[in-house]
Subunit: 386 residues, 2 copies
């Protein structure tokens, strides 16, 4: 292993990941844990066996700082060489949290790619500004809902989509469990729902958009997205936890598609539930989804039928807008059992630069769904004026 | 919503998921939680607003049993209609654990697809029997190691691969952090390492196989796999946590590739770490990886530098072989800081039908790597004879 015919000469540039460590009562223990992360996420090799100083100096992560957080908790800032992450989102995520996802007491709280690495990622194609321009909505939160419940046929769902668009909903998405089931085939559903929303838009002069769910087998994702585009769909719903963050990035980067993407958190929950492991809400639903091209990121808001706290939701909101290379800000989409009576509180907390997703409760207000949507829009306008 | 021009008439067949619920002190609370799962994973809609009896009866999950496990814990067996999972792994996983991944106190412990649903999945192409036949190894655990550390160039890694193959290692995989970095491009690495292992095989008459890492951007996975196959690679390493379970299934199902797949647990750790949420080790590393086509599944063994218990490892082993439709059994691959001195214990615990992965410790035994590999093989043979 002495052949150095291509000596290792990396740029020396590094990017930063911040971890919270728990279960380390002493500084010495915390330091060992941080050093272990530096090795585990790069060489994954016993330090005394690393075959060259060049690898030790240029490949292994470095602890930039280690600060106590109280009790047995610490914040470790670790810097990795740009070249270790390569030019690929899959390997970037691996470097940030691949193997150490399996070790207890390590939580990725945020990361900072720096300019050089962030430049490799286009991120959201539209972002907040682009999506507002598409919808012609500048002064209030966007309104979103889902066509549901599963079990309705494409004709029934299209009828729902029509009435929702007529009532002023901006983004009408598939329920994320609608894929290509026998009782609701993708192609027929998308064709009917797109036509229904277009008809409503002709009647209202509005710009409502239908976003079909293209979470699908790896070889089907692009076909469905193109079919949706061909029908005139207004965007795409995607669950990166089920089909991969990089598959979402591929959709976002596709110049031939050029459709806004709404990401859904299905199967990602285990990353954030345990406060001593996984990723923070901001790192996952904010940073990673944004980096992977979501224009808007759905998450269960505090106060709904899930269990996120207001602080965790704030963490997501912050991550959707904080500087991240040249990547655009994206919409936080609080959801998960929100009700119309919550609108004032939601607008107070999330401000105007969010997208409010109300599902079932829109159906609970009375038999006239279109009137219920108008009530939703009116409540949002009132809250913004207040 | 009264149009029933295509009335919902599903088969009535259901598949089963078993969940452990925690934090439910009373039977009434546990029952409400189980009912909530039935709704959340299907219609995701207020039950009293479900528009038809057909949807309530045919789409919503059903609680088949609810048994106390002691303290505030319960085992809920829930049955979902086959048609809800459709014919897609992404939607099957969504139905099993999509939204409820975000709710605390729910752990998916195992699932049983039944014959009809399992038939939709080919699973592992080779499995234990096929991989043994390819390698010509019938009577002992397979031997596996990784080429590492990151920072070596393709020529150096090929030299390592040669010496490992010469020493009798069956499966020589890329370290999972090796992707397509500037200092170690995929194409050159695979070309050199494949040639090196072939040269060793010519010298020994052996059948060692090199498995490059094809965890990659969504649009690159198949290209790299085909390039690897074209070079004569003996299999593929894949991290489904990073690039998607269904992307792995696509590789496994590709008749033009027909290469064995070794799955690696990077970025999947958060699913199993919290005993009150996520998935059990068996459901994730065993059942899901097997369903998605892995012929062998790497996991960190008890006793190494990670924190799985012997019981959790047993759970994985059981899931690699328990009946699952017509899917073949796959190899459990205990790893994560295993040492040569552990071989007797590993063989005692895992038996002969496993694949032992030893990485760094193979380099710690002395300067002659080939001799160290022979020592590994001898230790395994001795342990099997004992």
């Amino acid at each position: 292993m002495t052949a150095q015919d291509q000596p290792l000469t990396l740029s020396g540039e590094r990017f930063t990941a911040v971890y919270h460590l728990s279960g380390a009562p002493t500084a010495a223990q915390a330091s060992r844990r941080a050093q272990d992360i530096c090795l585990e996420q790069t060489v994954e090799f016993p330090p005394d066996l690393i075959p060259s100083a060049a690898i030790r100096d240029q490949i292994v992560g470095q602890v930039a700082s280690l600060e106590p957080l109280g009790a047995d908790r610490w914040e470790a800032v670790i810097r990795y060489p740009l070249e270790v992450a390569g030019r690929e989102l899959t390997q970037l995520v691996n470097c940030l949290f691949g193997n150490i996802s399996i070790k207890p007491g390590i939580r990725l709280t945020r990361f900072d790619l720096g300019e050089s690495l962030a430049r490799l990622y286009r991120g959201p194609r539209f972002g907040q500004a682009g999506l507002r321009a598409l919808l012609g909505v500048q002064d209030r939160p966007l309104l979103c809902t889902a066509i549901k419940p599963m079990g309705l046929n494409p004709r029934e769902l299209a009828d729902l989509a029509y009435r929702l668009a007529l009532g002023g909903i901006d983004l009408i998405k598939d329920d994320h469990g609608l894929t290509d089931q026998s009782f609701c085939p993708f192609d027929e559903r998308v064709s009917r729902c797109t036509a229904a929303v277009a008809r409503a838009n002709r009647e209202t002069g509005g710009r409502a958009r239908y976003l079909p769910n293209v979470t699908a087998p790896a070889t089907e994702i692009v076909r469905r997205a193109r079919l949706a585009q061909g029908c005139g769909a207004g965007g795409l719903l995607f669950c990166p936890g089920l089909a991969g963050l990089d598959a979402m990035r591929t959709l976002a980067d596709d110049d031939a598609l050029a459709l806004p993407i709404l990401s859904h958190p299905a199967f990602q929950g285990s990353f954030t539930l345990n406060p001593d492991g996984g990723l923070t809400h901001g790192a996952l639903y904010g940073q990673l989804n944004r980096l992977a091209g979501a224009d808007a990121t759905i998450f269960p808001s505090y106060g709904g039928r899930f269990a996120f706290t207001a602080q965790e939701c704030r963490d997501i909101v912050d991550a959707t807008t904080q500087p991240m290379g040249a990547l655009q800000s994206i919409f936080p989409v609080p959801a998960g059992g929100m009700g119309l009576k919550w609108v004032p509180e939601l607008v107070r907390f999330y401000g105007r630069d969010c997208c409010l997703l109300i599902g079932g409760d829109l159906h609970a207000q009375g038999a006239d769904l279109t009137a219920n949507c108008r009530g939703f829009l009116a409540a949002v306008r009132t809250a913004c004026a207040g």
